[in-house]
Amino acid sequence: MACNGSGCQSNCYKDEEEAESGAYCAPSTELTKGGTTATDLLANKLCAKCKVKEAISGYGGIDDGRFCADCFRSNLFGKFRFAVSSTAMISPTDKVLVAFSGGPSSRVALQFVHEMQQRSQKNFDASRDRSLPVFGVGVVFIDESAVTPIPSPEMEKTVEDITLIVSSLAPPAKELHVVPLETIYSSDSGDGKDRLAKLVHSVNDPTGREDMVLYLRMLALQKVASEYGYSRLVLGSCISRIACHVISATVKGQGYSLPADIQYVDARWEIPVVLPLRDCLAQEINLLCRLDGLKTLELSEGPRAGINGLVSCFVALLQEENPSRECTIVRTAGKLIPFQFNRIPEISDDNVPLATRRRQKRYNLKSNESVSSELFCSLCNSPLDKSENVDLNNLDSFSAVCCSSCWFQILPKDPSSMERFYSDLPQSIVARGKQDRNGNLNILREQIKDCLLSDTEDET
């Protein structure tokens, strides 16, 4: 059967190869997970790329059993490099912050960013005029012990391990920021941890609570990136993760804003967020970690509850049944029109070499194929559809500019708990909401001015 993955051509002589190389034994028994059977291993054959070494198999995914370890590694890095170079994600002048949770995906993201930095360091050292600087790399770990039941010794151990991982990377040295989630509250108030716990626990819906933590984490990452002068935030979201997000966003009724979250670049934030592992499968990432002995950490958070957990089980089931299912899901969602902010903002700075600017222009998203959105949900910052229930008369209130999904699963229903919820929100969300609303208000006032009776605003 021909595969339907991208770059299919080389797959077509699979059958012949299988016939030739029936008797190879797997050298990599320990690499396979418990679920795979012995027959998978026996079907080993020569690497489809170098035709010299034996292919490794049994890890799942579309390319399973096609490449040898070296070709697999370079193939995976190639996907990363393609994502980075095709969207001009990282320029030499950038300072890149890698969000590191300790899990396999972010570990590989860190490793690849590190390798890329090393290469450009080599180029820099070799070049005579030293015109292209080497981009800077930092690492951030968000300590969420305020909202998740993780025992503090475990957290201490995790932080220790992470420090070790980051410091053991070859130079250039990377700065590590270990930041608690409550950093989103201004430091002078001192009761950040309590307010955070109160805020998160006031969300009754388990799915909503998970999503809320996700939004807050992004806030914390943005805060760190902005405070320390980073210009990009790298997340390790892989295909499998994005496929789950596609389905769960659909289930939560976020069909309008969905394309915003799954592109290589998401510049609606102050510091643009980039997803260079968008084309890598979780299985491939896990394999790379095992092959290269990359140390990963799993915090004992327990299974995910609610919709998100259900969706990831569903997607895992489908992936098992058809190894290209996750890719198909992401490709389908990739055909939805992205937003204008899904591109790296143009550099107008003359200090940036012309070549960089030109390349960026060439590869950047074409603006005629994107949607502009003026309104953003005050809570999750997702773009709002015009049909969304935005109360035009009531734009100065926080909850009026929230998406229906946040309304349903996060915001408290009765007014008094809403007030409490609002007072526990970090200043940055409140401020962002206000700023957005003021901007929006003017646009909207312009649109509805004929219907307004008074010209004055009683706002702020």
């Binding site: 021909a2 659909t250 009724g253 055909k335 029109i337």
Partner: protein
């Protein structure tokens, strides 16, 4: 959004909060209002009437076929539509249209139900059988190809049988009893298999592209969740048949259906949210969409040289039942397929015919 029948003994004494005269028999899960049977009927029927009026689904004097499988949804559909037709004087010429796949132990029993409905509602019944249309019953097909992929045949033939039946009987519109769960399931399935063309149209109440042919299929998706239809059928004591197709356990849809059921248990609103997402998807206009043409063999709509039903039928008649299933090279539409292996991902040849709408 949905009502759940409660034990009448427990709610004794409570009066309906709409009419305040009769005893409440139901609790609306959304508002927790307690209402009586009569008011529930009124609310339900009024909602459907509004959907018909606001979407201008019918014109007076039109000939309307109601797809009747004998199941709960289509039984409710037939009952409600004939009731509303009389009450609001739509002046529609209604009749029941059934497709007989030829599945012993399933369809023959459900057709008995439809035949009883014919008498109960006074609507004439037309039955189209796979045997007459294609020369094969599903039982014969399964005997030949086994339990794998049999739903592909049934889906393709069933969809076209409705088209052909509608043409044969000169109807203006065909109404099907698809409910919100079916639509949500279709949205999900289209994402899962990358069918962007269907994803863009599967949530609309009328699938307009069939107007060009002899009839229009209206997905009568009135955004009712299953429970409400079940409640209606239960209280009205409607006569319906409730058994899964005997070949159904092998259907690929099963995965998605199971998932939807789980979702609904967790968050009933998720069904409507999926449909809302489906409506809000903005699909790139530069996307290549399959072009609609006609089948060179039978003349029905097809995006390929031959329509899927003809390809499958050819396979059956030539004793090559896997023809047209999956991505095989030697098919009639092979020209396109070979293009695909060379050129990469072209959406046109994604085997659209295998799927129902």
């Amino acid at each position: 959004m949905q009502e759940v029948g409660t034990n009448p003994k427990r709610s004794s004494g409570r009066m309906c909060c709409i009419c305040n005269q009769r005893r409440a028999a139901l609790k609306r899960t959304k508002t927790l209002e307690q209402i009586c049977k009569e008011c529930f009927y009124d609310v339900f029927e009024e909602e459907i009437h509004q959907a018909i009026v606001s979407n201008q689904l019918f014109k007076p004097g039109q000939r309307i076929a109601i797809c009747a499988s004998g199941g709960k949804d289509s039984t409710v559909l037939a009952y409600v539509l004939s009731t509303l037709n009389k009450r609001y004087n739509y002046r529609l010429d209604l009749f029941l249209l059934s497709v007989d796949e030829g599945i012993t132990g399933y369809r023959d029993d459900s057709l008995e139900t439809v035949k009883r409905n014919e008498i109960q509602y006074g609507l004439p019944l037309k039955i189209l059988s796979y045997k007459d249309l294609y020369g094969w019953t599903m039982d014969e097909i399964v005997k030949m190809i086994g339990l794998k992929n049999n739903c592909t045949f049934c889906g393709v033939f069933g969809r076209q049988a409705l088209d052909r039946g509608a043409a044969l009987l000169e109807v203006d519109k065909v109404v099907t009893g698809h409910n919100a769960d079916d639509i949500a399931e279709t949205v999900l399935l289209n994402i899962l298999r990358g069918d962007i063309a269907r994803l863009s149209r599967c949530t609309s109440i009328t699938t307009g592209q069939f107007i060009a042919l002899f009839s229009t299929i209206i997905g009568f998706c009135l955004l009712q969740t299953l429970d409400r239809l079940a409640t209606y059928a239960y209280f009205k004591k409607l006569d319906y048949f409730s058994t899964e197709c005997i070949y159904s356990p092998n259907a690929y849809r099963g995965f998605a259906r199971e998932f939807i059921k789980d979702l609904e248990r967790l968050r009933p609103r998720a069904i409507l949210d999926i449909i809302k997402s489906g409506e809000n998807f903005r699909i790139s206009t530069t996307m290549k969409m399959p072009e609609q043409g006609t089948c060179e063999r039978c003349g029905y709509i097809s995006s390929q040289k031959w329509c899927k039903a003809c390809v499958l039928l050819e396979g059956l008649n030539r004793g090559l039942p896997t023809l047209g299933i999956g991505r095989n090279r030697g098919s009639v539409n092979g020209r396109k397929n070979s293009e695909e292996t060379k050129g990469g991902k072209s959406i046109e040849s994604k085997g659209c015919g295998t799927l129902d709408f």
